[in-house]
């Protein structure tokens, strides 16, 4: 399995243009990555709108799932940010669903996982980071800088604490994006390698197959969990910006 070969575990991450597009000097081709973003967005919309079309008082299965996802994110936001976070609910909910569907759809063999690309995860993380910083300054003005110095600490500790807090604050978009990206990449590489083993071993591959199946189940869990973690961290950052620790 030499890298670059058709069975390279990295091949699945290749971004290939479907429709070549140019915006000025920038390449904005509609790629397989874009296709799955559109597919995720479409599926989310269809799922949420179609399941709630009956507006049933006693929900069916699909409506129940839509309500559960709504209430889960609503509770997450309320528990972490409080009532001040209500206005950010549509964004946080969209974020959660978008990542969740991206992760889950990506686990279907032959598909593309757009959340396995650092460009995508970092773009999301940096937008959240900038938005949270702007929200913090708008709400507290210069007082938002108190975030970098814990209330009640002796003044001389500022020399140590402020750089630490500053570094930890600035590393947020990196840790947020790398966590999701790395989890997705590792999971898919592992699945690809194990899948390769199953094929290579021929008849004996059936002994590896259960491992592959269980890893697939684990990846399903990881996909949901990472969407949750991304969302909860966004909520925690929002909390910091609104309440300053």
């Amino acid at each position: 399995m030499a890298s670059g070969g058709s069975h390279s575990p990295m091949q699945q991450f290749e971004v290939n243009p479907i429709v070549a597009l140019k915006l000025g000097s920038y390449d904005i081709s509609f790629t397989n990555s874009a296709l799955f973003m559109v597919l995720s967005a479409a599926l989310i919309t269809v799922f949420l709108v179609y399941s709630t079309r009956g507006r049933a008082l006693v929900p069916g299965r699909w409506q129940s799932m839509a309500e559960m996802s709504y209430e889960m994110v609503a509770n997450l936001l309320r528990d972490n940010v409080g009532s001040a976070g209500r206005q950010y609910f549509p964004f946080v909910f969209t974020l959660f669903m978008f990542i969740l569907f991206g992760n889950i759809i990506g686990l279907v063999p032959g598909t593309f996982t757009f959340t396995s690309h650092i460009a995508v995860t970092f773009a999301m993380a940096i937008i959240i980071f900038l938005a949270v910083t702007v929200i913090g300054f708008v709400r507290h003005g210069a007082g938002f800088l108190r975030l970098f110095f814990p209330h009640g600490a002796p003044l001389w500790t500022a020399v140590i604490l402020i750089p630490i807090e500053l570094v930890s604050y600035l590393s947020r978009p990196i840790s947020l994006s790398v966590r999701l990206f790395a989890n997705m990449v590792v999971g898919h590489v592992l699945l690809k390698v194990l899948g390769g083993f199953v094929v290579m071993l021929g008849l004996f591959g059936v002994f590896v197959l259960p491992v592959l199946v269980s890893i697939q189940a684990l990846e399903l869990l990881v996909g949901a969990l990472q969407a949750y973690v991304f969302t909860i961290l966004t909520c925690i950052y929002l909390h910091d910006a609104i309440h300053l620790h």
């Binding site: 290749e14 874009a34 995720s40 709108v49 709504y70 969209t94 773009a123 999301m124």
Partner: protein, 163 residues
């Protein structure tokens, strides 16, 4: 790794912003308000039903209390009536008993009087009979006439001795 090929970054970020933006718009304008209204409606319905159930329960409790009060009232009045009639019966019984006792006493008295009259009468006759019997017996035994005066005297002595 294809992830670190910068040539695809612009396209990825461009489509991310487009799809995310469209999805955000669709959810915030369409799906989320609908879900919110469904949940709110249910919440209202459930709390309304709970309120109604609470009210009905209260009403039922009131009815039960009324019923229990009515039962208790009926029981007290029944007990009172029962006691009253028992007292009446007892009083009537006692009165009749007293009347009967008085009548009985009167009758006993009359009977006793009659007996004593009869006794005195019998006692007054007994002397004559005794005298007669004694004289007749003496006459037969002695074969001689005994004077009535003597017999009477003897009888008197015997009777007098007896009391």
């Amino acid at each position: 790794m294809p992830q670190f090929d910068p040539s695809t970054w612009v396209s990825q970020i461009f489509w991310l912003i487009i799809t995310f933006g469209v999805l955000y718009f669709l959810l915030s304008k369409l799906a989320l308000p609908r879900l919110a209204s469904i949940l709110e409606e249910r919440e209202n319905r459930v709390s309304g039903d709970l309120e109604k159930a609470e009210r009905l329960k209260q009403e039922a409790e009131e009815v039960l209390a009324d019923y229990q009060k009515a039962i208790a009232d009926a029981r007290t009045s029944a007990l009172a009536a029962l006691k009253e009639s028992a007292d009446k019966i007892a009083a009537t019984g006692a009165k009749r008993q007293a009347e009967f006792d008085a009548q009985l006493k009167e009758k006993v008295q009359i009977a006793e009087d009659k007996i004593s009259v009869a006794r005195t009468e019998a006692l007054s006759h007994i002397k004559d009979v005794a005298t007669e019997v004694a004289s007749a017996a003496a006459g037969k035994l002695l074969g001689a006439d005994v004077t009535e005066a003597k017999v009477s005297k003897a009888v008197d002595e015997v009777l007098g001795g007896r009391g």
